[in-house]
């Protein structure tokens, strides 16, 4: 009897398929493991998505991991998805893992990312020519430190984000020494230390990011990114050098999924492919934690409650 009902239901659903999209086998009861890293938007977003998946009846667990090593884990199926693949910082790890197989691209967010040389607003008072990059050389002395002598100092992101700051400074003839910070925390400490005396600083930064809310600032406008600027010296203003452009102002923010996810949790997988956050949404999630001091789980709950219009359609597009 029960089987019959099942069968009937299935037939009915199959009939409806043409209109309402795919129908899935039931999701496995094994927990879906979502990795979390050490920046707020990613943590809140992971919890928000976790709570959405739980509302479908899936079990969800979180695990903290390094944000580069995680791609190896997704590949091996130890964690099952990754919600923030930044083109700039994690593109290489992602592409390498993609090549080895085991994970795949699960679609882009609406959000675009920008990662480039940045300064807090007070810097502009000392160097009014900004944000144009051509103003940098005149102001180089403002950014000088004891170690760099009369050269300016630019604090680039950690080396594993592969930012090529040094190459750019050379290619554009900037009178700057490029130092790599070891972590995001080191960048914040540098800005925080400069805040009191409004000392001009030039650091690596990105958006969406909590720092925008704490320290208003701007990106330096470098020559616009052209495709191939990192491979073809002819591109960009310096005909003999690579990396003579700014980073792409509209980099992707992707989701990645373990290959096995589709078969094991078909419905959850479908929802994952539909998920797409925008820049303001990500900034808002980060703000709930960074400025309003909520716990990530709580922030995710509140965000979901206030934005049902955003995420309900993702779930409705994937009927069980």
């Amino acid at each position: 009897m029960k089987n019959l009902k099942h069968l009937l239901g299935a037939t009915a659903l199959t009939a409806a398929l043409a209109m309402s999209g795919p129908v899935f086998a039931e999701d496995s009861k094994d927990p879906i493991i979502i990795p979390i890293h050490n920046w707020s938007s990613q943590i809140v977003m992971s919890h928000a998505v976790g709570q959405i998946l739980e509302s479908l009846g899936d079990n969800v667990e979180f695990v903290t991991t390094d944000s580069q090593a995680v791609y190896e884990s997704v590949r091996l199926g130890d964690v099952h998805l990754e919600l923030e693949v930044w083109e700039g910082a994690f593109g290489k790890s992602f592409r390498d893992a993609l090549e080895k197989g085991g994970l795949h691209d699960a679609g882009d967010h609406d959000a675009v990312t920008r990662e480039d040389w940045w300064y807090p607003m007070w810097t502009k008072e000392a160097c009014p020519g900004l944000p144009s990059w051509e103003a940098l050389n005149e102001c180089a002395a403002l950014f000088a430190t004891p170690e760099t002598g009369d050269k300016g100092r630019y604090l680039d992101g950690p080396v594993d984000w592969l930012k090529h700051g040094k190459e750019r400074a050379e290619a554009l003839g900037l009178n700057f020494t490029v130092i790599n910070a070891g972590s995001a925390a080191a960048l914040w400490a540098e800005i925080g230390a400069a805040e009191k005396d409004k000392k001009p600083v030039l650091v690596f930064n990105w958006t969406p990011n909590f720092a925008e809310a704490v320290w208003p600032g701007e990106f330096v406008e470098f020559p616009k990114w052209e495709d191939g600027c990192d491979k073809d010296p002819a591109k960009g203003p310096n005909a003999d050098a690579l990396y003579d452009c700014g980073n792409p102002a509209e980099g992707y923010l992707k989701k990645a999924a373990w290959d096995g996810m589709k078969d094991k949790w078909p419905q959850a997988y479908c929802v994952l492919t539909k998920i797409s956050f925008t820049n303001p949404q990500i900034a808002q999630m980060a703000k709930l934690v960074d400025v309003d001091e909520q716990e990530p789980e709580e922030a995710a709950e509140n965000w979901l409650a206030e934005n049902e219009g955003v995420w309900k359609p993702w779930v409705e597009a994937c009927p069980s």
Binding site: T64, Q68, A69, E72, P146, V159, A185, W188, A189, A286
Partner: protein, 656 residues
């Protein structure tokens, strides 16, 4: 040919170590001076000599992993370990797994720990044990702390079990001991970034990988202490055991182990401390709880909350340390034959009673089960404000700015540039000369071989920057740490205080002072050295205190009677006798510095640590192993020379 072979050692033998060392030094200096006319191949190794180690190691790793199927073995172990971790996870913080009982309410754990503390060390320890957990709960970190503990309560016993097992084997079979020594040394000196990826690949990111990394890190002292304890068992006891006809197992269980109890328990204590020291680092590979939260807090520049988490970790470490030390001192209580079971197990019953009563209380009053999100007393914002206020004081800023300028331009950068300027052969000869002076031909060859390996990997410059950072930090740590130790050793009260400060500095997560270090000094070598310095000073100060306090009373009394001043007594009696112990501290300081210099990559360095960090993008395991080897062999080179010196010194003083 044979003639030369027999002649060579004889000739060297006739010269004193100092002589040969001087000659080697002179040759090194000559090569350095001749640098302008040297061919490039003698300044740095030519490219053709640098073999593609990275792809070879990568291929070897892939072979071991897939073709030999090591990953299937480790993944089977992982499954078992995961089951245990899930169980503790359920009991301690309510993870949704078998046996679906937890979480235990915090009040119950406070009660049970309080009774345990009382049994081990009276009211004081009862307060420390109970108080730590009360703090954790009311500050709103209970669940985080339990997530962390759910891994430690599994990792620590496994580390102890494996450590004791291997320690017994090493004591039984000389060959095992000899084989184990270099393995342990390499394990202890391999940089953390090198463990990270293999742990994730073989043991699955999450609590399992975290537990394995913690176990590997914590095992070595357990093995060493077990072997040491068993070796010291007096022959009289052994004979007594044999005369009563014990089997081998009985001998071990009832004769050797009880006699070696103290050493084994010291090992246990070390295991616990090392487990807690790994709480934050393992968060990169899936350790849940306090460490992970700390990393997230640091990522959004919340100093106050990070600080609170640091305090919790220190409190838990100090509590476990004091409890385990009290357990070492506590001798088994003897009961009259026929005394009732309840009397023998009074404290066990009391503990259970406290646990149950408080569990019931928690059932009635939810606050005692779980402190709600808005009920906690966290003062993150206030502490944040206070820290930033202190860092902003003009006098402090002015001092650190001056220090930054002075150390960078006058000391560190010239030192770094000169070490980088040295031609490779000259540097290797220089290090060998120092080794020859201490330990003769064998040491010199060992050191030349170790640094030769570094040169052959092609990472010489980066390695020299790492070396320069370590040396600078250790010199500063010596200048500050040894006088502090000498001062503290003068009276009981101060040595207690300073030793507590040492415990704190050792377990307070180093990540927390990376940020203030950057705010004070900026992202540069001064901040790096400052953060290494704090860590490296700990063993120097600790061993100086212990060395000086360990000087036999008869000798200091003799010095007093001979009418020496306090200064004379210190310089001519106490310090020379304490020197071997202090050298052990010095050795530890160097090992800690090699450990921290890699972690300091999180501030921003230009050394091997930075390259190691770079390998994480794209999982370049082969290159990672090559870099890890460079760090490891340099640390081992120091380890070898200092150990050699300590052994010689001790036998010269008749201390061993």
């Amino acid at each position: 040919m044979t003639a030369i072979d027999t002649q060579m050692p004889a000739r060297i033998g006739s010269l004193s170590n100092a002589r040969v060392a001087t000659i080697l030094f002179a040759v090194a200096a000559l090569i350095a001076i001749a640098k302008p006319i040297l061919p490039d191949g003698l300044i740095r190794l030519p490219d053709w000599m640098i073999l593609p180690w990275a792809p070879w190691l990568q291929a070897m790793f892939d072979f071991v992993r897939e073709d030999l199927g090591l990953i299937y073995v480790t993944r089977t172990i992982t499954a078992g370990l995961e089951f245990v971790l899930d169980t503790t996870g359920n009991i301690l913080y309510g993870k949704h797994r078998w046996p679906y009982l937890g979480p235990i309410s915090w009040a119950s754990i406070v009660g049970a720990s309080g009774v345990l503390g009382y049994w081990l060390g009276g009211t004081r320890l009862a307060l420390i044990a109970g108080g730590t957990w009360v703090w954790t709960a009311v500050i709103g970190q209970w669940e985080l702390a339990m997530e962390t503990m759910s891994v430690i309560v599994v990792a620590a016993p496994i580390a102890v079990a494996i450590g004791v097992g291997m320690g017994i084997q090493a004591w039984r079979h000389r060959r095992v001991e000899v084989a184990l020594r270099p393995i342990l040394a390499v394990l202890q000196t391999l940089p953390f970034f090198t463990y990270l990826l293999p742990a994730v690949i073989f043991f699955k990111v999450g609590p399992t990988a975290a537990a394995v990394a913690t176990i590997i890190f914590a095992i070595p002292p357990m093995i060493l202490m077990t072997t040491l304890g068993l070796k010291k068992v007096s022959p009289d006891i052994v004979e007594a055991g044999q005369m009563s006809g014990s089997t081998r197992w009985q001998m071990l269980r009832h004769v050797y182990m009880p006699a070696a109890r103290t050493e084994i328990l010291v090992g246990v204590n070390q295991v616990i401390m090392l487990c807690l020291a790994m709480v934050v680092l393992t968060a990169f590979i899936g350790m849940p709880g306090l460490g992970a939260k700390l990393l997230a807090m640091m990522g959004s520049f919340k100093l106050g909350r990070s600080f609170e988490i640091g305090v919790t970790i220190v409190l838990i470490a100090v509590m476990l340390d004091r409890l385990s030390k009290a357990w070492i001192v506590k001798q088994p209580v003897h009961f009259e034959k026929g005394s009732p079971w309840s009397q023998r197990h009074f404290f066990l019953l009391a503990g259970i009673a406290a646990f149950v009563v408080l569990a019931l209380l928690a059932w009635v009053v939810p606050y005692f089960h779980e402190v709600g999100r808005r009920q906690d007393l966290s003062m993150g914002k206030e502490i944040d404000f206070a820290i930033k206020w202190v860092l902003d004081i003009d006098a402090i800023q002015a001092t650190t700015q001056w220090l930054r300028w002075f150390l960078n331009t006058k000391v560190l950068i010239p030192f770094r540039d000169s070490i980088l300027w040295l031609p490779t052969p000259s540097a290797i000869l220089l290090f060998s000369a120092a080794a020859y002076y201490v330990g003769g031909l064998r040491s010199a060859l060992v050191i030349a071989c170790f640094f030769g390996i570094v040169a052959l990997t092609g990472w010489w410059d980066r390695s020299m920057i790492t070396l320069y950072t370590v040396i600078s930090a250790v010199i500063l740590a010596t200048i500050l740490g040894i006088p502090l130790g000498i001062f503290a050793s003068r009276n009981e009260k101060w040595s207690g205080r300073i030793l507590l400060a040492c415990d704190t500095a050792q377990t307070f997560p180093s990540f927390i002072y990376l940020i203030p270090a950057i705010m004070l000094f900026g992202v540069n070598d001064v901040a790096v050295i400052f953060s290494i310095l704090i860590f490296a000073m700990v063993p120097l100060t600790r061993y100086t205190i212990e060395g000086l306090r360990g000087v036999p009373v008869e000798l200091t009394e003799a010095a007093d009677m001979a009418g020496s001043t306090r200064r004379q007594k210190l310089m001519h009696v106490q310090l020379p006798l304490a020197l071997p112990t202090m050298a052990v501290g010095f050795n530890q300081a160097i090992m800690f510095a090699f450990f921290m210099v890699i972690i300091a990559a999180f501030i921003g360095t230009q050394d091997l640590g930075q390259e190691l960090q770079r390998t994480l993008a794209g999982n370049e395991l082969g290159k990672n192993f090559v870099l890890g080897t460079c760090v490891s062999v340099m640390a081992l080179a120091f380890d070898h020379v200092i150990r050699r010196w300590v052994t010689d010194r001790k036998s010269a003083l008749g201390l061993d």
